[in-house]
């Protein structure tokens, strides 16, 4: 078993928290190793709304979270412009909210709390709201405009990983944490398994950071420490196109299905919150009850959802730090929890960073890196709040797409939107490079080649996270063979194409099955016909 001692810090988990911590540590001059058992952004990072919170949602109950959010909101706008869309957001009040105590009186309280937290917000009339977002429930009685936006979590995570690597970090994906190397009360490093080769290895560093999200619970147990976490499942639905162009929230106490976010070419409604056992975290299925609930609440925000095609359903698990007194989990502050296990539990060389949310990943990373630096005696200050991420030096499609010569094609414009100012690395050398592989999402062969070459793609799901290939209306039915062939060739094993495509379609199928009726059912029948699926599908007749 090879043993490597070259690192200052090992980070477990390639979600946004781990990626941000890797970037911060690397930027402060540390030698970093990041390990991730799947691809980056496969856990909760890739399974949420993609909402760039203004913090307004937390303003009334949790001003600390609200202030954190708006600070990070402003920072992300400046450092991650390519991952963010400034859609603006609305908090709407409906006639029925009056009866449940969340009417216009509550709106006043909400506005005050927002302004106190430093969230720029103002009340507008129902007619102004309808003009600002024509899809909003027209019966609304009031609305507040807040600086919400949408954020692409895949892109944000990838940009952090890329920047960490540019600063010398070593990134090992498909590398699973097995156990700690431990001497008495000191963590010396980790034992890992390369899930593709089956090889194990050991890596040593004076500090290890547990940034494994909900799976961090198990990681901590291996170190003999207990973090009282509990998994809160959140289900979401993806609609076939952008129904709204402004984020729509319900102006009331946080509840299920009260945020509607336009992201890229789709709209997402979410979420639910249910306590689930740890065993389920790896195999989330969205239930008919969850779909029904999300639709009902979604239609209250935006009635058009009642007849809009749903592409798929998915669920993520929030890593909440448990408070046993509230079974729903809603009253828990999504506060950041940074634990130095030496002071907390007497285990040296081990830090856990958990709680928090996508919005505050950078701050979490800063806190975790501060803790690592304290342990190592490093005095470098954090610069992540002022340094733009790769791809985000210029986040505007209009200017970025000018980097191409001649007439800019749709595929090139779309690539500019996804890859930001790194788009120059996409090489359009032949006519075939310009051809679209995925026509729903305008992904060219050149962009696929770039992703395989530079963004560490191993399979089609990885490719999807970096390019949106197969994420459109047909969910890969029409393009995935082309993509599989291109990927298999680029990986040097053309014979792998069938397996790559089959794995991808299995995963798409799972998300479609929960919403298998209407046009989605037709799409499923079409997919089944094209690929001769043998698996039976079930759909809900309720």
């Amino acid at each position: 078993m090879p043993i490597t001692n070259d690192f200052d810090v090992i980070i477990i988990g390639g979600g946004i928290t781990g990626a941000g911590t890797a970037r911060d540590c690397a930027m402060r001059g540390l030698k970093v190793l990041l390990i991730e058992r799947h691809d980056i952004a496969t856990g909760a990072t890739g399974r949420n709304h993609g909402l760039l919170h203004s913090g307004a949602r937390y303003a009334v109950k949790d001003s600390e979270s609200a202030e954190e959010c708006i600070r990070e909101n402003k920072i992300l706008r400046s450092i991650a412009s390519n991952c963010i869309e400034d859609t603006g957001g609305l908090f709407i009040t409906l006639p029925e909210d009056e009866e449940s105590g969340y009417g216009l009186d509550y709106q006043k309280k909400f506005l005050e709390a927002c302004n106190k937290a430093g969230i720029e917000s103002r009340a507008i009339s129902p007619s102004e709201a309808r003009q600002m977002e024509p899809s909003v429930n027209p019966s609304l009685i009031g609305a507040v405009v807040v600086p919400d936006g949408s954020v692409d979590p895949f892109r944000l995570c990838a940009a952090n990983v890329t920047d960490a690597a540019l600063h010398g970090a070593k990134i090992l994906v498909y590398t699973e944490f097995l156990d700690f190397i431990r001497q008495n009360d000191t963590i010396l490093g980790v034992k890992v398994l390369d899930t593709r080769t089956g090889q194990t290895a050991e890596y040593r560093a004076p500090v290890t950071v547990n940034a494994a999200g909900i799976w961090g619970h198990g990681v901590a147990e291996k170190a003999g420490v207990h973090i009282g976490m509990y998994p809160a499942k959140g289900a979401l639905l993806v609609f076939g196109h952008r129904v709204n162009n402004v984020v729509i929230n319900r102006c009331r106490k946080s509840a299920d299905g009260d945020i509607l976010v336009p992201g890229d070419s789709v709209t997402v409604i979410g979420t639910t919150s249910t306590k689930v056992p740890f065993e389920e975290c790896d195999h989330m299925e969205v239930t008919p009850d969850e779909v029904r609930l999300l639709l009902r609440e979604g239609c209250a925000l935006c009635p058009a959802l009642a007849s809009t095609r749903i592409l798929r359903a998915y669920a993520g698990v929030r890593p909440l730090v448990a408070d046993d007194s509230d079974p729903t989990g809603r009253s828990i502050s999504r506060g950041i929890v940074c634990l130095d296990h030496e002071t907390r539990d007497g285990v040296k060389g081990f830090v856990s960073i958990t709680g928090g949310k996508l919005m505050t990943y950078r701050l979490m990373a800063e806190l975790a890196t501060d803790a690592v630096c304290r342990k190592l005696g490093v005095k470098q200050a954090c610069t992540t709040a002022d340094t733009p991420l790769p791809g985000s030096l210029d986040g505007r499609i209009e200017t970025v797409s000018k980097r191409f010569e001649g007439k800019v094609s749709l595929g090139q414009k779309s690539a500019a939107g996804r890859q930001g100012d790194l788009v120059g690395k996409i090489l359009f050398e032949t006519e075939a490079d310009k051809q679209l592989v995925c026509e729903c999402e305008n992904v060219t062969l050149a962009e696929i080649k770039y992703a395989v070459r530079e963004l560490g793609v191993r399979n089609l799901q990885d490719l999807r996270r970096r390019t949106r290939v197969g994420m459109g209306t047909c969910q890969g039915t029409l393009c995935i063979r082309k993509a599989a062939k291109a990927l298999a060739e680029a990986l040097g094993d053309p014979s792998a194409a069938d397996k790559l495509a089959a794995d991808y379609l299995d995963e798409r199928w799972k998300g479609m099955r929960a919403v298998g009726w209407g046009d989605t059912l037709r799409e499923m029948e079409f997919m089944q016909r094209v690929y001769k699926f043998e698996k039976p599908y079930s759909y809900d007749e309720v």
């Binding site: 070419s265 026509e439 729903c440 046009d519």
Partner: protein, 413 residues
Amino acid sequence: MQERNISSNNFEQCQKCSLCETVCPVMKNNPDYAGPKRSGPDGERYRLKNGIFFDDSLKYCLNCKRCEVACPSGVRIADLIQQARIDFSHKAPKLRDIMLASTDQMGPVAGAFAPIVNFTLGLSPVKGVLDFALGIDHRRTLPKYSSETFVHWFKKNAASKQASFRKQVSYFHGCYANYNYPQLGKDFVAVMNAFGFGVQLLENERCCGVAKIANGMIPAATRDAHANMEAFRKSVAQGLDIVTVSTTCTMTLMEEYPELLKVDNSDVKDHISLVEQFLYKAIASGAVKPVWKEGWKARAAYHCPCHQERLGLGIFTVELLKMIPGMQLTELDSNCCGIAGTYGFKKENFKVSQMIGKALFDDIAAAAPEFVACECETCKWQIEMSTGVPVKNPVSILAEALDLEKTSELNRA
């Protein structure tokens, strides 16, 4: 769980099966055109996100609507493309496009000087100038103008007799019958009168607006649409249904008004019919009876215009023509002739226009008919120019084949 899962955003029904791409005549012949699926439903998803994703190549769509006929999911693909052009193409129409599109403004001017205009437009130096200065292709035979409009003729020669008929219809003649080919209008009046229908003109009929829509002149087209709707409503209120002779005008009145111009026509739509449909139903139901000329014989080939196919009305013409005892009719394969209204007149489209039409031209050559039967005036220009075979409107064919006097006697009772 969704009670209605048919979205009003019709593009959502697209399953990406790509059948539309297999029938698009432009895609086969112009590699710069992304095709109906990508320009329509695919493009729409991205245009909803950001107008920057509007692609200039949408101008190559000739709006033949074959994609809509082919679509198994009922997506209004061509409408999506036209709508995107309306919403996102902010280039001002060129002088040429305005001239080509303003059929009812150019008509009266050209008609007043018809002999000079027709002579001049036929001269090759003039065509060279039109080509160079305006971008109207010099190889194109330009439609001729008539010195007397149909409306003028009608008021002078026919209007006074119409009141004597028990049954009455309103006639939407369109710009072509009025300015370019009044004989078609005359044939229409003769045939309708023979079957016992009096013909009335609509009050202030305007151009249907199709050429204006195609050339991005939406406010002007919308004004025309409102004026026409007002005329239709008056007609319907008086109990007169509206009968049309032009396929494309009819499609515009029936489909494009509500879909693209957002002009509601639901109250009169059911009262508008194309003449072939109107007559077939009248004859088939026994409401009117034809008497055919003894010994009239013809060998014809029927070309169904794209928009006739979109309306699903080609079958009426075929069945109507088959009623003529001396008619030997070949039904040509479904193909676009390539002209698509003003599209083929434009220099940049001429080559593609002729490439698209080739399959049809070859079929016509193989069938070697005496003439081609076709309801559409621009198909007529294209086919006559490209094959040399004359094209006749079915109404004109009826006017020839019917014994008009005996038919009128029979239907007078």
